[in-house]
């Protein structure tokens, strides 16, 4: 049928504004800033930033797992509510995603600062103020806070779709409620976990705002370094090489997770 | 009745390199009720969709009223379709569904109103005009689908297993209703089904199909009484199909015995298939019959018993109103009327032995149970019980 042709404008758009830009990133990563000649120098330089890349991936991974641990009970609880309550809770989880994440992160600064709301409260109790900000813990908190809804929503929609007859069947075959959860519900919600972890990991590993505001001044993440290559240090070729490194990390992680779930990548996005 | 309304000439249809239909030649007379009957995947729905114009033939021609419409799109053909799952427009109410085609044809609102009311009358749905179609029962949705298709006054109404999703009782009622509507309006109906009983009850002409071929065309009586091959014999009703040899005109040999029969025109000593219908067989005392055997299973079926009798290792199905206990030794009598001789075909040897017969076996092979159908297709009552 000729209906296929309706996708042509879209495909042209994607070619020009997604594929070609990525090709340009490749081109920049392998050329010299000054002479424009082909070079591997940027890729070699990338080695210096290996520890930063590793740290970003590590913090993002910890945040993703925390989101999973925190998000699962919430998603599970919401999926078990009456439809009316489900809709309401779903809305409550989604709403923060629509609000400026810059300002919400800034609110955390106000809460955690040495002279912030929490520490002022601690001081009025007569205790010593705590070092709540400018450390990795604060960065992880910021990531978990910002990206938790991206974990809860896919988990919720997967748990929601589990056929209640399967649970009845498991009970019928002699499972107690713990076994029903461990042997039926949890394995069936694996696609939701994978897609949730992906959806938290990708923005977390590449963030530059959270680390700027909540992290210690010495530890930049890969996102910060890329941003500075384009905005302050102006070395787009090195920035492009770093972007490639970041993409490599992201796609390796996604591929690993999809292999782990025995999936061909179709369920990458479920929301 | 004699004018050809639709002609299919040498029609072939391929999907992804696989033949769904191979060389179909068929004509449909004006005003007749013709049924395409066969198991799922036999090509009956493909044939219907070709006539409707939803798909185009790979080879061959389709004529409507003598005009070649092979490449004419569906909206320019004067045929209308009743879909298997009704395909009612969920965003429109009953009235607007029926009026849909008339509005497309830009009839005046007065005329549309008159036409819709007439249709509502025909399908007995007066008073349902403003109901949303999703709030109707299966049977009512079915009626709306029929009214919607008939409102355009098509030359031919195509029906694709329209009763498949209804429960047994409703199906019977709708069969009568459809037949009545067809006679009242005098429109040609082309009806697709896998239910042999439905086909025999309603049709003027039955076309039995399998594997993309037409196996037999005839009146319901012809098809039942004179099946052309083992496939038709097995698909229409129950049959015992045996290997035999035609010794002469009107004389066939099987189980080492010669029987008089009504068939002629075969070659001398030609191997043939012999069909004996289970309800035609007379049970007599063991020593008084043409053949004798042992009853191996008895199933009560309401009106009659299905009994399986072992004759020298070949198991026959016999339907009888007299109870025979399991293990009984009985004889059977066959009259020339009971014996139908058919030429050997690719289907020979595939059907007719009931050695693995059991009640469950019967259900597993139920032609109504289409593999792969979702539970949406379950009759409504069954679902309500769940």
């Amino acid at each position: 049928m000729k209906n296929k042709m309706l996708a042509v404008p879209y495909l042209v758009w994607m070619a020009v504004f997604t594929i070609i830009p990525l090709a340009i990133v490749f081109y920049f990563a392998f050329t010299d800033t000054v002479t424009g000649e082909a070079t591997f120098r940027n890729i070699v330089l990338l080695g210096q930033y290996g520890s930063i890349l590793f740290k970003s991936a590590w913090l993002a991974l910890v945040s993703s797992l925390l989101c999973l641990i925190i998000g699962y009970p919430v998603a599970y609880y919401i999926a078990g509510c009456s439809p009316r309550k489900q809709r309401f809770l779903y809305m409550l989880v989604m709403l923060p995603m629509c609000m400026s994440f810059l300002l919400r992160t800034l609110a955390w600064v106000a809460l955690l600062e040495d002279t912030g709301i929490i520490n002022r409260f601690i001081i009025t109790l007569g205790l010593r103020p705590l070092p709540l900000i400018r450390n990795d813990g604060a960065v992880i908190l910021g990531m978990v806070y910002n990206f938790l809804p991206y974990m809860i929503l896919p988990l919720y929609s997967v748990i929601m779709k589990i056929d209640p007859r399967l649970i009845e069947a498991a009970q019928d075959l002699g499972c107690n409620s713990r076994q029903v959860f461990g042997k039926v519900v949890l394995p069936l919600s694996l696609p939701g976990m994978i897609s949730g972890v992906t959806m938290v990991f990708v923005p977390a590993v590449s963030t530059f705002y959270i680390s700027q505001k909540l992290g210690s001044s010495g530890t930049a993440l890969i996102g910060d370094v890329i941003e500075s290559q384009f905005k302050t240090a102006y070395n787009p070729n090195l920035g492009a090489a770093m972007s490639l490194g970041l993409m490599a990390v992201v796609f390796t992680c996604i591929a690993l997770m999809n292999r782990f779930s025995g999936d061909d990548g179709e369920s990458m996005v479920t929301v | 009745m004699s004018k050809h309304l639709i002609d299919l000439v040498g029609v072939r249809k391929t999907f992804d390199g696989e033949d769904a239909l191979k060389n179909i030649n068929l004509y449909i007379r004006d005003g007749e009720f013709l049924t395409l009957l066969g198991p799922s995947g036999c090509g009956k729905t493909t044939t219907l969709r070709l006539i409707a114009g939803f798909i185009l033939p790979t080879e061959g021609k389709i004529l409507i009223d003598g005009q070649d419409v092979s490449n004419v799109p569906p909206y320019k053909r004067r045929v209308n379709t009743v879909f298997q799952k009704y395909a009612l427009f969920p965003h429109l109410d009953v009235y607007d569904n029926i009026a849909f085609g008339l509005r497309i044809a830009k009839l005046s609102e007065d005329e549309i109103d008159a036409r819709v009311n007439e249709m509502l009358e025909i399908v007995s749905l007066k008073g349902f005009e403003n109901r949303r179609t999703t709030t109707l029962s299966g049977g009512q949705q079915q009626r709306v689908a029929i009214a919607r298709a008939l409102a355009n006054r098509p030359g031919v109404l195509l029906l694709d297993e329209p009763l498949g999703a209804l429960d047994l009782r409703l199906r019977k009622d709708m069969q009568n209703e459809l037949k009545r509507i067809q006679q009242q309006l005098g429109i040609t109906f082309i009806y697709v089904t896998h239910d042999q009983e439905e086909a025999l009850t309603m049709s003027d002409t039955v076309v039995v199909m399998d594997r993309g071929h037409i196996q037999q065309i005839g009146t319901p009586e012809d098809i039942y009484n004179e099946p052309k091959n083992a496939f038709v014999a097995d698909f229409i009703g129950e049959s015992n199909i045996l290997d035999g040899v035609m010794r002469d005109d009107y004389l066939v040999e099987f189980f080492g015995r010669k029987f008089k029969c009504m068939d002629k025109g075969f070659g001398k000593n030609e191997p043939v298939d012999v069909v004996i219908r289970p309800e035609d067989i007379d049970i007599v005392p063991a020593d008084a019959g043409h053949l004798s055997g042992t009853v191996t299973s008895v199933t009560f079926k309401g009106v009659h018993y299905d009994i399986i009798v072992d004759f020298k290792g070949f198991k026959w199905l016999i339907q009888t109103t007299d109870h025979q206990p399991e293990g009984a030794h009985i004889g059977i009598k066959l009259t020339p009327d009971d014996i139908h001789v058919m030429k050997k075909t690719e289907y020979s040897g595939m059907y007719g032995d009931y050695s693995s017969y059991s009640a469950e076996y019967d259900e597993i092979n139920d032609p109504d149970a289409v593999i792969g159908e979702e539970d949406e297709a379950l009759p409504q009552e069954e679902r309500d019980e769940e």
């Binding site: 209906n3 309706l6 996708a7 994607m14 609110a107 809460l111 590449s206 972007s243 992201v250 | 497309i104």
Partner: protein
């Protein structure tokens, strides 16, 4: 266990909302330090409305969000129809391309578009082409996949016979689309459009790399602001936006509830089988 989950969920929700409550409270605080409550005032709001910078920037954000979500909805719905008609291989390839902007880190998308625009600027010998159109293009690009992924399932769920039925009753293929198919996929089209709109309105990372000095959106400006001490009128703006979005969501929630009630009624009469979730 369920009780534990319930309490846990409440705690998590509090965690999610505490920072927003802090901002809302700050918008009524007469002191400038967000951490110290001085007294109640509405002056932040009057300052906001007299402000000549923030509101026009909000207007910019709205213009980009409206235009990009409308274009993405149109282009994406067409694409979904096209993808629906494709064979398996072509379809998988197209969906793989669709997944790129979704899985790629936003910063990479931003950087790659920035490089593309720089390249185009160079070839056309224009000093800087960054501005309204580059922002719009970037937003359409990251919105398209959301539209496609919300329309496509509606097309697959749709009874294939509906289109045939429309053709059968005399519709041309174009009439069939506008009189039947569009109604069926409408929920997907609307949710795709809404998702695009909110994504676009709140986007910072990609916009940050492709905006020009002549056309700045609110999130970008907030980022630039947060490098200096923040003026509390921004908290007032945040609070107003929060209330607006909350009201829109509650409204959608109610509409959905009404809709569901209707289909449930229908389901009771003629059961439609399994429960479905629409996200």
């Amino acid at each position: 266990m369920r009780r534990f989950n319930r309490i846990f969920t409440i705690i998590v929700l509090i965690f999610l909302y505490v920072p927003m409550i802090v901002l809302a409270v700050a918008s009524f605080n007469s002191g400038n330090d967000i951490a110290v409550l001085k007294g109640f005032t509405l002056s932040r709001y009057s300052e906001l409305f007299r402000d000549g910078v923030l509101l026009p920037l909000l207007g910019n954000s709205l213009i980009v969000a409206v235009l990009s979500s409308l274009s993405a909805t149109l282009l994406g719905t067409m694409a979904a129809l096209g993808i629906h008609a494709m064979g398996k291989q072509l379809r998988q390839l197209t969906l793989a391309v669709t997944n790129i902007p979704l899985t790629n880190p936003e910063i990479v998308t931003g950087v790659s578009l920035a490089l593309l625009f720089a390249f185009i600027g160079q070839t056309l010998k224009i000093n800087s082409i960054l501005g309204f159109f580059t922002l719009l293009i970037a937003h359409v690009t990251f919105n398209l996949p959301y539209v496609i992924l919300s329309v496509l399932p509606k097309l697959t769920q749709m009874d294939r016979d509906l289109r045939d039925a429309a053709l059968d009753l005399g519709c041309t293929p174009i009439q069939a689309f506008f009189k039947v198919i569009l109604y069926e996929i409408m929920p997907g089209v609307i949710s795709g459009a809404l998702m695009s709109f909110t994504m676009s309105l709140d986007d910072f990372v990609i916009s940050y790399f492709v905006y020009g000095p002549n056309f700045i959106t609110l999130p970008v400006e907030i980022y630039n602001y947060t490098k200096k001490p923040l003026h509390p009128k921004i908290y007032a703006l945040f609070t107003l936006l929060f209330i607006t979005i909350l009201m829109v969501m509650v409204l959608m929630n109610l509409l959905q509830a009404r809709d569901e009630k209707r289909t449930n009624q229908a389901r009771r009469i003629f059961s439609a089988g399994r429960r479905r979730v629409t996200t």
